[in-house]
């Protein structure tokens, strides 16, 4: 097993960003083995040598880096990945840096860059055009010199088509590699983003012998007791005919306290015998049941949409702005470990009343929960299949600060900082209709992002589908992913 040292910045008004980026890096590093994260300011001589590889995220411009860290990076015998700021402290301490490593920085380039091409030759894998948020104004490091001994790993593509390196690698005086990424790859993340290049570069540092393979997961999302069992059976039949195992999420209690849907209220799973029979049928045809919360809504209020099961968030308070953007406010007022455990226990009882055992998989409704909720889930489930939120305080040991939060999707299986196995969730879901400022997300969009996702050499294409949508969307997506070379596997094999 490998071990990764994650070093992060802590100073300045934005020092808290360092902890969030360290959490995200640690989550990814857990795919390969254990990790230790610490402020770079705490670095002591020789620590780099104690780990398989080191990741330093330079998020604070001018963070005072210890001389011991700079010396150990320069003389490293193990892979070091350095992102963004403060590389000039290394080159200042070693004026011969450019002659030894073969490159030197020049300045941040503030061009509009909406594409990062990765991987590049001499890699034999196909280059993909990864997305990048063009309005990201943080700048990307550009270079004064790059010698032939340097491997350019990825290129930024400006709006005029010109390019400059996004990441490069060369070898130091003692044989260790230094991979430098010219920006923070852990912000402005979307599906198919250049974040995936960072995720893949970790293989070079931590598991270079990993063979290339591409696997896929599909989930049937948001099934509550009001769902039509015929649709569920039809989807299961088609997936079975295609030899596609799948997960499906069951919400065991339907509530609609504000009567948003007019379909009734307080409907339990066991009261819907046709749906119960359909679920058994689905299970016998390759479906793996997953828990998707107790009610998938909160209390008797909008959170943020309608108050109805399937529409609203259950474990986190969310409000909506007039432009339909959302505010992730934090835990609901009654949130605690005990409160969350109570909801899972209630869900477990409802599953049992319908004749089912508690699923081993959890997907929190709306991909939002508190630390206490995630910790409570660890006592009921063994795997999470979702994206997750991480507040400041998780690494630093300080009180959790829900006003400073990052979310993350994984490109491969990890054990996240909450301590549970988390499956990849790379592609999101099919949304046939636009919703205010959010455009539709059609099979072609999912497939295009899945193609970009191929840059992760042992990565996953993972998406979800609502069974009330036309089955042709599912069929197009599954077929498209297979044509890209993905192999669908059961969530239990992930």
């Amino acid at each position: 097993m490998t071990s990764t040292l994650v070093l992060y910045d802590t100073t300045g008004q934005w020092g808290w960003l360092g902890e969030l980026y360290a959490i995200m890096s640690a989550n990814l590093a857990s795919h390969f083995g254990s990790w230790t994260a610490m402020p770079v300011a705490s670095y002591t001589s020789g620590t780099v040598r104690q780990y398989t590889a080191t990741i330093y995220i330079g998020s604070t411009y001018g963070e005072p880096l210890p001389a011991a860290f700079l010396d150990d990076v320069y003389a490293t015998t193990t892979p070091v990945i350095w992102a963004y700021d403060n590389i000039w402290q290394l080159t200042a301490r070693y004026p011969n840096f450019s002659s030894v490593y073969g490159w030197n920085w020049s300045a941040f380039d503030f061009s509009s860059v909406a594409e990062v091409d990765y991987p590049l030759p001499p890699s034999t894998r196909a280059t993909q055009k990864l997305k990048r948020y063009a309005a990201n104004g943080a700048g990307i490091m550009n270079y004064a010199t790059i010698s032939a001994a340097v491997t350019v790993l990825a290129n930024c593509v400006r709006s005029d088509g010109s390019t400059f390196p996004w990441a490069l690698r060369s070898t130091g005086p003692n044989g260790g590699t230094l991979t430098y990424i010219g920006e923070i790859p852990l912000a402005y993340i979307t599906e198919g983003d250049r974040y995936l290049a960072f995720c893949d570069l970790l293989f070079d540092a931590l598991a270079p012998a990993t063979p290339t393979q591409h696997r896929a997961l599909v989930r049937l999302e948001d099934i509550d007791p009001t769902y039509a069992p015929t649709g569920l059976r039809s989807v299961a039949n088609w997936l079975r005919s295609q030899n596609v195992p799948f997960g499906f999420q069951i919400i065991p209690l339907y509530l609609d306290p504000l009567n948003a849907n007019g379909a009734g209220n307080n409907i339990t799973l066991q009261s819907q015998s046709a749906l119960v029979n359909a679920i058994r049928y689905v299970q016998s045809n390759g479906g793996v049941m997953m828990c998707h919360g107790y009610t998938h809504q909160y209390d008797s209020t909008t959170n943020p949409y309608s108050g109805a099961t399937g529409d609203d968030c259950e474990f986190y308070r969310i409000t909506m702005n007039a432009d339909h953007s959302l505010n992730f406010l934090g835990p609901v007022p009654e949130d605690s470990l005990t409160w969350a455990q109570g909801r899972f226990s209630a869900a477990q009882q409802l599953y049992a009343n319908a004749g089912f055992t508690m699923p081993q998989f959890i997907t929190f409704p709306s991909y939002a929960a508190s630390v206490a909720d995630y910790q409570a889930a660890n006592g009921f489930f063994s795997v999470a299949t979702e994206r997750r939120l991480y507040p400041v305080g998780l690494l630093s040991g300080q009180s959790y600060d829900y006003s400073r939060v990052a979310g993350q999707y994984m490109p491969y299986t990890v054990r996240d900082v909450y301590g549970i196995k988390v499956l990849a969730d790379t592609l999101g879901g099919i949304e046939p209709q636009p919703y205010f400022s959010n455009p539709a997300r059609l099979p072609a969009d999912i497939i295009a992002d899945a193609q970009r996702n191929l840059v992760v050499r042992d990565g996953w294409a993972s998406f979800f589908y609502h069974t009330y949508d036309n089955i042709s969307y599912l069929q197009q997506t599954v077929t498209g992913l297979k044509n890209l070379g993905y192999t669908f596997v059961s969530p239990t094999a992930a």
């Binding site: 097993m1 109805a308 969310i318 959302l326 505010n327 630093s396 040991g397 600060d401 006003s403």
Partner: protein
Amino acid sequence: MTKRTRIRRRQFLAASGMALAHTAIAGRVTSAAPAEPPAPPDPPIPPRRPLTPPGLAHKPGAAPGYIISGRGEDLLNPYFHPVGEPSNQTSGRPLPASGNGVGE
């Protein structure tokens, strides 16, 4: 001392201070290259926006779960960009934290 002289003296002191600082960092200075690039701008802070009036109809016929599931290039979306404002509060330096790999 004229204003212009004071400015020159201030510039000299600032420049020599920078040079000394760089010398302290580098131990030796032999390169004519700049010691550091100009600082990039701070991360953006999402503007505060008015809340939607109550009673807005949700998307008919489909749960909008994915809409609040991290979709959207919006600075309020923590799955797109870490959410939070700058802070001058300082606390003690965090201790190292460790975790296991998924196969452990």
